[in-house]
Subunit: 280 residues, 6 copies
């Protein structure tokens, strides 16, 4: 269990669902028809593009669930950067099982590696600043555990895992009370937990500062606005930035003094990393 | 059940998994702390960007599973194009439930709409040609039913649903027999099913033509190569194109005479469509 | 919840699995393509053959899970005998949903009714004798709750529901101890539970009588053998007959004095009752 | 993974459900009470009747899920014909586990073998003709993957796996448009998929021919009607026959020129093949 | 599979749910952060208090599901009494996996051992009398199979496993018919099953005797009342006692002649047995 | 959704599992046999003992899942204290369904109310001090969401929901690095999350203070030791106490200055609150 692995319970459940939807009722018609039952072979996972790998434990689990006679050996680990053309690992066993599992394994591996690769680009973009890149709860349904592990593989950090591990007060919550009262209530209901407050303006930042949350989330401001917010908070509260962040702007936000930059795109809009399984 | 809806059995399972991973063990700490239990409100789904909507049945199901007291009414349907700023629909009910379901509903809606929107761009790019855009089995694990419905919402068509509905013979399958023999065996094992053959070269296209499959998949060729392949097949077999297809090249492939253009990116690499839920 | 209904928890699980395997990833291609989305209609369940109905609660649940907008009204109840041509009930609602659910609903209804109908034939064959027809654990995997309810609908009775509700000592259990010791141990381990003993010969029947079980199962004997066994037991222990029982022989076994006649065929080999859903 | 194996994902799910319903909350009372915990033994699967075997992978999985200490070795494979009395394979391990798994394993094995055996009888009945026997969607709920594999083991072929892999237009679909329009719409909605049309009369066959489907299903006609239908279609479209087909009539249908004969009975009404597990 | 083991199917399901709820989306943050990935270690299960052990198969399964590289070896078996300080077994493997599984394994082991320990105290309290301690259906939701096995480990016996294995007629059932009629109907509906009758008074006991059930449950009477009830029944029917039974009173009930004493508290109110896992 | 409700997704899953294990394959034999199918009735939930109620949403869900025709109305809410004899609510509907659901509903309600009641006793014991009672991860497997909500109903607070929401460094984690280094690594791996440190001695407390965690957990110390620890930390870090806490000692710990007192017993060893369902 490495630092960047998702829990195996989550991996098993996702892999079962993914295999089930791809095998259907009859299984792999093509392999059954044209590959001899006793044919054994070796497949090489190769990178078609450079990027960061993630999802190897899920890919391994696909083969294991389909046919325990297939062995999988990785020459890279989650979090490793690879060049285009690099060999990532090898599978060996019955060809029918390798081909039957191929697409499901690649779907998981390419998506997780896509998340890790995009995260790494954001991480690299803020290199040398103290800012850390964080993910959000904007994950693809059912894949959160794998995606959050892939973010770590890319060098990012995990924000809330779900609604029940920390408090994050947004505009939508403030129809019935002031921000100060909201922080007070959150502290009172959930003592010993992180209370974060989202601010859309410098006025709100000032209000938030008075309420003494653990973290201020500055949303949809310009880098210069963030700089003012950081100054206004004066180091008393760490600052997280979200909204309007892309690869072009992220460094400016980091240099504006943000402790964290949250990027929904690393999970909800990451293109896959193009990987393939070549049979020898 | 519209033409572009996924099966409700699949929707229910995805929504259950998604809610479960977002609610955690305690539920929505923030709403519990700062929103009065009896507060009722209205939320408006709005488009932050122009695009094509998909996933409304899944979003509705999120609210239904969390709290049947929330009502959801859509002013758009899956497949509708919307402008930035457009209202998509409204939810009404206990504010705690609306906020607790918000992110899960949006995660589904934004992803499905992202798939539909990207599909529509490909569809529009080939407008006026006879080519049809198709998806692939390169879907995100566990989300295939929703993504394939979103592709239809975008104006695309569905290729194989899984390994067990049609035969698709690729290079990896041909280690032990000729393409002709492979087609013969596929016909013999699975009579009455579509048999498609992937070709990487004009030589293979010629070989494929002789084997009389139902469809030829021309993979990783240039548009001019595709034109030659179409000519070589002489209308005897429909032609599908895949590999190297993006928004810049898709029209050239369509004009080269392809009947279908398959695009993995519409499911595996679609950025979300930016949608939000604004509380009134 | 009638006497002949299976538990709803079991019904829901079976129906979910059945719908999931029939709808696949895309749903009902045919209805989507050729039935207008807003078409509403009425379907009549009709009996193509005379028989006994069972499985209506499961059939209802199929429509409910697919589309709550479909209403189902039965004019018969589980356990009712019907003539060929009889109308069993009606469904009304969106035609797409009716057709999408049709086969799954019929598969359940026809199988359960087949079990009920075959059971009824055995029950009728022993009419006037004190013998009661019982099922066995020889049920189709995953369908036991529905089949055992269908047996009751046919007028039969339920034997053990599973391995954990009663003790049934067979030859295979007696490699390590005498029948008397086995009964003793069963009484000692599981006091207050039924202990039944299987006998293949009159010698064993005598041995069993001495061991004082709650029930003797006479296996694979002729009717005259059963008569002797019953006489040997002298009313001290009820007698169940199994093995070699079919519609031709069952009455002879009943007349030989058996209290119960167990028939695996009513669940494992019942042909369906031919029922259909006719759209008006 | 042989040609006649169901997908392991389906097998695991069915076996889990079957074991769960048979073990109940307490497990196998009888074995616990009367078999010593450390007793080891060998069981022989034997055929009580001649037939065709199917379901061995499921039976193996039963023992594996109950107790990995039991080893299973088969001397036959799915699809093999066996004589009455033949040994099919052996299990070895803790006697409690063998007896606890026995009935569940046999329920699966006997049912699948029953399906394979009945299929083989139909296949044999049409030997020498070009007709191929196909199954239908009339399968027992939850068991489709296993039954369809058993049909292949018996020498039959698989029709649609579910509603989402091909289009089959029946009378019920034609309330709102002509057959020609329906075929057109199906082609338009689901290009690249098989479109089959059901015909009940020669008039409909003529109409269907004009609509150019991929397959015509001739339903409930006499063999001579089928011969006329085949002649009318003149080889332009393959012909499938269904309805009114039994072992007495199937050859006449095959000789009438049908390419496929579909038989619902091979899955929905197959009596089990009588197999047993004898402990040594 | 010992006499006191729960079915492995139940164990696997409970362990999966328990691990899933404890690992969450990210896994064990602490171990990932502060334990080196390659650190291996040994943990000793030790008893902090004297008691009776149960739940070892579930604890083993926790480690197996989290990481198959962890080995578990027990020096005690379910049902063994242990002193405070005793070593129960050892786990060896990656430290991260040991610590990640620790709490889930202990939660299962401590609860099951708590049930076994409390059961043993009741069993010891009636030592020398013929009375046997039985559990009830008052188990914690989802844990029945494990708790009933733990009761056996403690020397107790299992009453009904669920609503569907035996009949138990209580006051609530008698609104519409007499007790005699109820017994008659139960015999008629479910022949060959145990019919037990609950009585709250000596009058009811007399009425029950006439109805000839298999067992009389004397509820909420004093020991002297029980003695009278036993005398009234005169050995014709075994007597079970429930209600008002605790460790102070159980012996008096046993000495009053009860065949069984049912104690809900052994499952619904057993404090845990304090066990720990010490890393070396 | 009140402050003290568990997430409905968790409730539904627990209730399904609980009903499934209690209904078995046949359902409620007794009700089927002796209660007329059309009998309707009313049941009153009543408290046999004084205590605090929790689990009403789960109890409601039991009836809903068994039979939607049963209505449930509560006159108390989770968190309400009730006297012995108080009516808690009423169910009305088919008597068979009420009786079939009774035990499962009570098992959930009595356990949750037991947890709430014991929590309230601890809360009351520290009344007037600033200390707050918290639960732990020592919950019964599968029931964590319900138990943590019940703790809140009792006036307690929730500690970590699982391993993935906060860091808690214990002795077992410190084999490979100093406490200071461990805190540093935790901050570095999981920035923005609570880092808590367990201390067994005053020396460790001093070491912990220097490491600047968010919380110090003082384990297994006497109240006077706690007082010293609090003094040593000087208000810089909040203090949580665990180990050796019971109803006799909890106030002394609270008065020693602890901010939180964690009590595993409120979830792992709470006896049920005795509640009943009386049919009218």
């Amino acid at each position: 269990m490495s630092d960047v692995d998702p829990p195996m319970t989550a991996v098993r459940a996702v892999v079962h669902a993914a295999l089930d939807e791809d095998l259907g009722t009859l299984g792999d018609l093509t392999s059954i028809a044209v590959v001899p039952e006793d044919a054994r072979g070796t497949g090489r996972f190769v990178a078609r593009r450079a990027g960061v790998i993630a999802g190897t434990s899920a890919a391994t689990e696909v083969f294991r669930q389909l046919d325990a006679a297939v062995t999988v050996r990785w020459s890279v680990a989650d979090g490793d950067g690879v060049d285009a053309g690099a060999e990532l690992g090898r599978v060996e066993g019955p060809v029918r099982s390798i081909l039957g599992a191929e697409r499901t394994a690649l779907n998981l591996l390419c998506h997780c590696s896509g998340v890790a690769t995009l995260t790494r680009r954001f991480v690299d973009a803020v290199a040398g600043t103290p800012a850390r890149i964080r993910d959000t709860r904007k994950t693809l349904p059912g894949l959160r555990a794998l995606e959050k592990a892939a973010v770590r593989a890319g060098g990012g950090f995990n924000h809330r895992e779900c609604l029940s591990d920390a408090v994050l007060i947004k505009d939508n919550h403030l129809a019935h009370m002031s921000l100060a009262e909201a922080v007070e209530r959150a502290r009172s209901s959930w003592p010993g937990r992180i209370v974060e407050v989202e601010c859309d303006s410098l006025d709100q930042v000032a209000e938030a500062k008075a309420a003494r949350p653990d973290l201020v989330l500055v949303d949809n401001m310009s880098p210069s606005g963030v700089r003012e917010a950081v100054a206004a908070l004066g180091g008393a509260v760490p600052v997280e930035v979200s909204g309007g962040v892309d690869l072009d702007t992220v460094r400016a936000y980091a240099e504006a003094g943000a402790d964290f930059v949250s990027v929904g795109a690393v999970t909800h809009s990451a293109p896959i990393l193009d990987l393939a399984l070549d049979l020898e």
